[in-house]
C-alpha cells in the first residue's frame, strides 16, 4: 500500500454540537485516515481550535480543505508545514522500573526533557512534550524496558509570527 505523507491542518470552528462529526466525515468519505485530532475551546469560547493530523494524497487534501471551508460552522482551515508552525505533542508513559534499571530510565527521561510525574516501587509515569518525532525516539528507547501504558495527545499547533493558526 502506498505510504502517504502526514498533513497537519488547523481548523477554527464555531463551538456547536456536531461540528467535529461533520469535519471527520469529510476525511473519512475521501479515504483519509485521521492519525490524531485535538479539539478544545479557543480563547473566544464561542469557537473551538482543532488540529487534525492525517495521511493522504496531497491532491485529495486540497479538496478536503475546500470542503472543510464550505462547512457552515467553519471559520477557516489551514494546512501548516512544520517550518511555519510550532507543532507539539504530549505523551504520558507508564513504564515498569525497579532499583536496577530506574536510573537508566530517568536518564533517558532527562535527556528528552521529560519529567517524572508518578514514582512507585515498581513503576514510573513519565510526561514529555515536543515534536512527535522526538517522542517517537524516546518511546523507542523506553521500549527496552516494559511500557505498561502510554497515552499520546495527538498533535497541536500554533502558527509562527503574524500568520493565523
Amino acid at each position: 500500500m502506498k505510504e502517504y505523507p502526514t498533513h497537519t491542518i488547523s481548523i477554527y470552528i464555531t463551538n456547536n454540537p456536531g461540528g467535529l462529526m461533520r469535519m471527520c466525515q469529510i476525511f473519512s468519505r475521501r479515504g483519509f485516515n485521521i492519525d490524531s485530532l485535538v479539539a478544545s475551546p479557543a480563547m473566544d469560547g464561542r469557537f473551538s481550535r482543532v488540529t487534525i493530523a492525517a495521511k493522504g494524497a496531497a491532491e485529495s487534501l486540497k479538496q478536503i480543505i475546500l470542503q472543510l471551508e464550505k462547512l457552515v460552522d467553519v471559520m477557516h482551515c489551514i494546512e501548516h508545514k512544520n517550518s511555519e508552525a510550532i507543532v507539539r505533542e504530549m505523551v504520558l508513559i507508564k513504564v515498569l522500573a525497579n532499583s536496577a534499571n530506574r536510573g537508566e530510565i530517568l536518564q533517558i527521561t532527562k535527556h528528552f526533557g521529560g519529567k517524572t510525574v508518578d514514582f512507585t516501587d515498581n513503576s514510573l509515569v513519565i510526561e514529555c512534550s515536543g515534536a512527535s518525532s522526538k517522542l517517537d525516539a524516546m518511546i523507542d528507547l523506553l521500549e527496552n524496558y516494559e511500557i505498561v501504558e502510554m497515552v499520546r495527545s495527538g498533535q497541536m499547533l500554533v502558527a509562527r509570527g503574524d500568520q493565523p493558526t
Binding site: 468519505r29 470542503q67 464550505k70 462547512l71 457552515v72
Partner: protein, 569 residues
C-alpha cells in the same frame, strides 16, 4: 404561543405556501399548531415521507422557492433520507422539520427515536437538533438562509417534542448567528477579465451550462453570452432549459447519452467553459483525456468544485448570473463562424433517431409526441433510467425550471411526487411526470395525494416490463446475462389508477399515441395516468460507456463485444 406555533409563524414569514408531510406522535405539536395558528399554509398529507421530500423538491425546482417538509421522528424521519440526498446532490433548497422524542429521553432508545442529526449529516447542507425553545426561531431563520443561499441544499431541523410544546415569547425575526457561513456572490473582476481574454483567442469555443445557471436564474444571461460570443452551448442533464433547446446555438445534452453533435463539439472544441456544472463523471468520462487539448474554464459558486474532477486553466467562484453579467462587459464575438457551421453540420448529419426493431411502441415516439403536442412547454419530472435519457433527448426544454430530474443521486421514484410538488407550485402550468414501470412503483402510493387534491398532473408510465437501463448494461457489457431486471408481477396500471379514482389511458400501438395524448392533455378535472406499453428491448443511443473517452461513443447498437466499462455505474 408555543415553539411549534412560532415555527408555523416563521414559515409564513418566509412565504411558505405548502408543507408536505406525514403526521406522527413526536410531531403532533406542529400539527396542532397548523390548527391553532389558523395559518394559510396548506398542509399536504402524503402517503409516504419519501414522497413528501420529492414533492418539496419538485416544488422548489419548478418555482425557485424552498420546499418544506414536516414529518415525525424515527421511521418518519429516516424515510426522508432518500429525498434529502436527492436534493443535496442536485443543490435543491429544502427545509425538513422532524419531530423527535422528548429531550430527557434522547439517546435512551425511546419509542420512534432515531439519531436524525447523526443519520442525516452526510446528506444535508446543514442540520440542527434544537436544544432549547429559545433557539427555535433563530434556527428556522438560519435554515432558510442556508438552504437558499450560496450553493442551495437541504437543511434538517430536528425538534424534540417537549421543545416544540414549550410556551414562550418568540421573536420571529430572531437574528442569525452564522459567523462561519460564506456566501460567494460577484466573482473576482480580475479573474473574469482573464477568462474574457481566454475567449478572445478561441476559434472553437463551447459553453457547458449546468444546473447552477438554472438555480441562479441566469437563462437570459446565458443566451446573451452564447450569442455575443457566437459559441455553441451544451447543457448537462440538469442544465436543460438554461438555454432554450430550440435556440440555434443549443446542442442539447452532452455526455453518456448526450446528442452526437453535442459530444462531437465537446471532443473538438478548443475552449470549454463550464458555468454551474460540476463536471460530473457522466460527462467527463476518462478524466485525463477529457478535452485534453482545450482550454478549460470553470465558473461555480462552490469553491470546493475547483479541481475536484477537472483541473481548469481558469477558475472563478461566484454566482453564475452575476459572473456572466460581468463577463458580458468584457467579451467580444469570437472568430468562430466556421466552428458554428461545422457544429450545425453535425446536427444535420447525426440527428437523434431511433429504430423500431421490435415493431411495437417506442418510448421515443411517445415522448416526441408529448413534446410536439405540448409545444415543448410542459414541466417534466422524470425518474431515472432509459425513459429519463430518452425524455432528455426528445423533450426539448425551453425554460430551466421546467425540467425536474434526479441527476446526481439518480433516485428512482422521484418523478411522480416531484411532478405533484411542481403542480402545487405552478397550478396553471402543464405538468407531466415521466416514469418507467420500475420507478413508478416505488412511489405510486402518491396517486392518492394527486387524486384527493384534484391535481391535473399527467402521469406517463413507460412500461417495458424491465429495469431497462440495467438490462441495457447487462446486454452490452455482461454477455446478455440478465439478472434482477425482469419486472414480472407488474400490476395493470390502468386498473390500478382507476382504483384510486384516477382517470387512465393506455397506448399500445403507434396509432394510439397522438390520439391518447390529445385526450389526456385535454383532461383537467384531476390527475390522469397514461400507460404506454413499449418495446421490451430497445436501448438508448448515443452512448459513451462509463469511464470511456468521447472517441468511444456508440451511435447505434454495437456489432462487436464491448469491454466492461471502467467508470461508475
Amino acid at each position: 404561543m408555543n415553539a411549534a406555533e412560532a415555527v408555523i409563524k416563521c414559515l409564513e414569514k418566509h412565504g411558505v405556501e405548502y408543507i408536505f408531510g406525514y403526521s406522527g406522535g413526536a410531531a403532533i405539536p406542529f400539527f396542532d399548531a397548523l390548527v391553532t395558528t389558523n395559518t394559510k399554509i396548506e398542509f399536504i398529507l402524503v402517503r409516504h415521507e419519501q414522497g413528501a421530500t420529492h414533492m418539496a423538491d419538485g416544488y422548489a425546482r419548478s418555482t425557485g422557492k424552498p420546499g418544506v417538509v414536516l414529518v415525525t421522528s424515527g421511521p418518519g424521519a429516516t424515510n426522508t433520507i432518500t429525498g434529502l440526498i436527492t436534493a443535496q446532490m442536485d443543490s435543491v433548497p429544502m427545509i425538513v422539520i422532524t419531530g423527535q422524542t422528548i429531550s430527557p429521553m434522547l439517546g435512551k432508545d425511546a419509542f420512534q427515536e432515531a439519531d436524525v442529526f447523526g443519520i442525516s449529516l452526510p446528506v444535508v447542507k446543514h442540520s440542527y437538533l434544537v436544544r432549547s425553545h429559545e433557539d427555535m426561531t433563530r434556527t428556522v431563520n438560519e435554515a432558510f438562509y442556508i438552504a437558499t443561499t450560496g450553493r442551495p441544499g437541504p437543511v434538517i431541523i430536528d425538534v424534540p417534542k417537549d421543545i416544540s410544546s414549550t410556551e414562550g415569547v418568540f421573536d420571529l425575526d430572531a437574528k442569525m448567528d452564522l459567523p462561519g457561513y460564506k456566501v460567494p456572490g460577484h466573482g473576482d473582476k480580475g479573474e473574469i477579465e482573464t477568462i474574457a481574454k481566454a475567449f478572445k483567442k478561441s476559434r472553437k469555443p463551447l459553453l457547458l451550462i449546468g444546473h447552477g445557471c438554472v438555480l441562479s436564474e441566469a437563462e437570459e444571461e446565458v443566451r446573451q453570452l452564447a450569442e455575443k460570443l457566437n459559441a455553441p452551448v451544451v447543457t448537462t442533464l440538469l442544465g436543460k432549459g438554461a438555454i432554450s433547446e430550440k435556440h440555434d446555438l443549443s446542442l442539447g445534452m452532452l455526455g453518456m447519452h448526450g446528442t452526437a453533435y453535442a459530444n462531437f463539439a465537446v471532443k473538438d472544441c478548443d475552449l470549454i467553459c463550464s458555468i454551474g456544472s460540476r463536471w460530473d463523471d457522466r460527462i467527463v468520462g476518462k478524466l485525463e483525456e477529457f478535452c485534453a487539448e482545450a482550454v478549460k474554464i470553470h465558473i461555480d459558486i462552490d469553491a470546493s468544485e475547483y479541481g475536484k474532477m477537472i483541473v481548469p486553466d481558469y477558475w472563478c467562484a461566484g454566482d453564475a448570473r452575476l459572473i456572466i453579467e460581468e463577463l458580458l462587459l468584457h467579451i467580444k464575438r469570437c472568430d468562430s463562424q466556421a466552428w458554428v457551421d461545422q457544429v450545425k453540420g453535425w446536427r444535420t448529419d447525426f440527428p437523434l433517431k431511433y429504430d423500431n426493431i421490435e415493431g411495437g411502441l417506442t418510448m421515443q415516439e411517445v415522448l416526441a409526441e408529448l413534446d410536439k403536442q405540448s409545444d415543448s412547454e410542459a414541466i417534466i419530472a422524470t425518474d431515472v433510467g432509459q425513459h429519463q435519457m430518452w425524455c432528455a433527448q426528445f423533450c426539448k426544454s425551453t425554460q430551466g425550471k421546467n425540467w425536474l430530474s434526479s441527476g446526481g443521486a439518480g433516485t428512482m421514484g422521484f418523478g411522480f411526487p416531484a411532478a405533484i410538488g411542481a403542480q402545487f407550485g405552478r397550478p396553471n402550468d402543464l405538468v407531466v411526470s415521466v416514469s418507467g414501470d420500475g420507478g413508478f412503483q416505488m412511489t405510486l402510493c402518491e396517486l392518492a395525494t394527486a387524486a384527493i387534491n384534484k391535481l391535473p398532473v399527467k402521469i406517463l408510465v413507460l412500461n417495458n416490463s424491465y429495469l431497462g437501463m440495467v438490462r441495457q448494461w447487462q446486454e452490452l457489457f455482461f454477455d446478455e446475462r440478465l439478472s434482477g431486471v425482469d419486472m414480472e408481477g407488474n400490476p395493470d396500471f390502468v386498473k390500478l389508477a382507476e382504483s384510486y379514482g384516477v382517470k387512465a389511458f393506455r397506448m399500445e400501438t403507434s396509432d394510439d399515441v397522438a390520439k391518447v395524448w390529445k385526450e389526456a392533455l385535454a383532461y383537467n378535472e384531476g390527475p390522469c395516468l397514461i400507460e404506454a406499453v413499449c418495446n421490451k428491448t430497445d436501448n438508448v443511443y448515443p452512448m459513451i460507456p462509463a469511464g470511456a473517452n468521447y472517441d468511444k461513443m456508440l451511435l447505434e447498437a454495437p456489432t462487436v463485444k464491448l469491454e466492461k466499462p471502467t467508470g461508475s455505474t
